[in-house]
Symmetry: C2
Subunit: 317 residues, 2 copies
């Protein structure tokens, strides 16, 4: 380990926010040294509690995350927030919102908010989010909240990174609650009905209960349903209570490590896929790719045999 890296890590671990921001940018942008940095930081990670919060657009996720941050700050915990806003056609409001939120918390270095809006064309957002979480974790933050709009598989992959996953719903979703798939039912450790002062909160609760009766969790936990009105700070203490109940349950049943091993099995496969892709790209020039693509586009060559050939030759060179 070279001295500058060591210095960097010492500054990061001392809580310096500018070093933290620089380290996160290095990892997020895959700037030179990102891999060495992560390797050096990894042994310092694993101490933070990681919450994943997801829900449909308009569920009030940001407000709820802010209120939770305030709650934990009062208990002197340091907080890191990763707000994931995939660059997608129909979302995008989060960026401006996050700037406003960052200003509001500007005076408190105990809350660090990072907005992630870019996404690689091969769906690397979940991996980058995981790496940014590792940096925040190694920097000594007590609590990390990953917040994302729950609209696709990438988002499900992102919340899977968390130790505890919270699904935020709102009254008035109509039939949408009925269409929540088994996948998300298995992932959610805690349900929140936010804006619960609105009509229909009981309907949402009934829907969740009836879906829960169909889903069997491996760990035997029955996810509680917590009602909040985040904009008025109502129910935040109950949510924090539910979070700590689940943590106690994991500890009691010795499930935290099992959950982490399962997550790492998936993440290692994804990391390996990315590493192999980099390797494959390194072995092929842009000219090769253009030539292959032209042959396939002109139907002179079938892409299935071609890809098999390239993959078979990969080890030989």
């Amino acid at each position: 380990m070279n001295p500058p890296l060591q210095t960097w890590i010492e500054q990061l671990r001392s809580g310096d926010v500018r070093t933290l921001a620089r380290a996160i940018s290095t990892v997020e942008n895959r700037a030179p040294g990102w891999s060495e940095l992560l390797k050096a930081l990894f042994p310092h990670s694993g101490k933070a509690r990681v919450l994943g919060l997801t829900g449909p657009p308009g569920a009030g996720k940001s407000t709820l995350v802010d209120q939770l941050a305030r709650f934990y700050r009062k208990q002197k915990h340091t907080v890191g927030i990763v707000a994931v806003d995939p660059t997608s056609p129909y979302t995008g409001g989060a960026i401006l919102g996050d700037r406003i939120r960052m200003q509001e918390h500007f005076s408190d270095p105990g809350i660090y908010i990072r907005s992630m809006a870019t996404r690689g064309s091969l769906g690397g957002l979940a991996r980058t989010t995981a790496d940014v979480t590792t940096v925040l974790d190694a920097s000594g933050r007590d609590l990390i909240m990953i917040e994302t709009v729950g609209v696709g598989q990438d988002e499900v992959d992102i919340v899977r990174l968390a130790d505890i996953t919270i699904l935020i719903l709102v009254p008035g979703m109509g039939d949408d609650v009925q269409t929540i798939k088994a996948g998300i039912m298995e992932i959610a450790d805690i349900f929140v009905i936010n804006k619960s002062d609105r009509d229909g909160a009981e309907n949402v609760e009934r829907e969740i209960r009836s879906l829960q009766s169909l889903a069997i969790r491996n760990d035997g936990w029955t996810p509680p349903i917590v009602k909040t009105v985040a904009s008025q700070g109502l129910g935040i203490d109950k949510l924090a209570g539910a979070i700590s109940d689940y943590e106690s349950y994991l500890q009691e049943k010795d499930l935290a490590l099992t959950k982490s091993v399962e997550n790492w099995q998936e993440r290692l496969v994804e990391m390996l896929r990315d590493a192999l892709l980099d390797k494959a790209r390194g072995l092929m020039t842009d000219g090769d790719m253009a030539r292959y693509a032209a042959e396939v586009a002109e139907h002179k060559r079938d892409p299935y045999s071609l890809v098999e050939e390239i993959a078979a030759n990969l080890g030989k060179s």
Copy 2:
């Protein structure tokens, strides 16, 4: 090529719908023989026109696609529809809807509708959709429509498969139109404002125009804006006209092949990634993976160095 495969392909190319359904299932489920089937079918593909249609939930995509199918059926074209409904927490209404649609068209073998609702954990839906499209194409369908809810990167990848991409918007989206990112502006070859009898259609049009003035397309095409009321069949002829205008433009400027080569460059990289992942998985037993994951979860080993090691060793065995 073994005789049964040859027979299968002959039946498929003769237009037999049950063989088509079986071939699609084989490819979609990666059932034994899927790879050989695709290799054999690929040389027969490339003749169909492929339309990609995307838009937010509630934009009336299915109705519009049905109306287009009716329009092209009157012109004696055969039609294949791939309705992609990613298994995501907040969509899922399409399955029942598709069953109803399929019943409606049941008496006409000239329209074949396939609903795709599953998604691999590593985001392979775009690839499977591409493969299903190849089967439909090779089976001799004149026109293939890929319909997907435009909510994430996967969906953008799916509509990228198409020769012509149509973005469907509706009045009353509020600020959502403003948040349409440059990415989708570049992809859309034609804009549709559906439900254009509602208030606010002019607003949507103005928004699109002002976003268009910011986006520069490589091919020099200015995407037209077509107003429809799909539920009443209004504007469908104009949309078909816009589609054929764009096709003429591509032909005139000799751009169709360029577009196809660009798409194949991306697809080949994705296919290669999947092939390498399969290779990597084949080299590691479940026991290896579980052991590695446990070492990382216990922070005895950093995952970044581990993955580099595995990737480096891949060629050696």
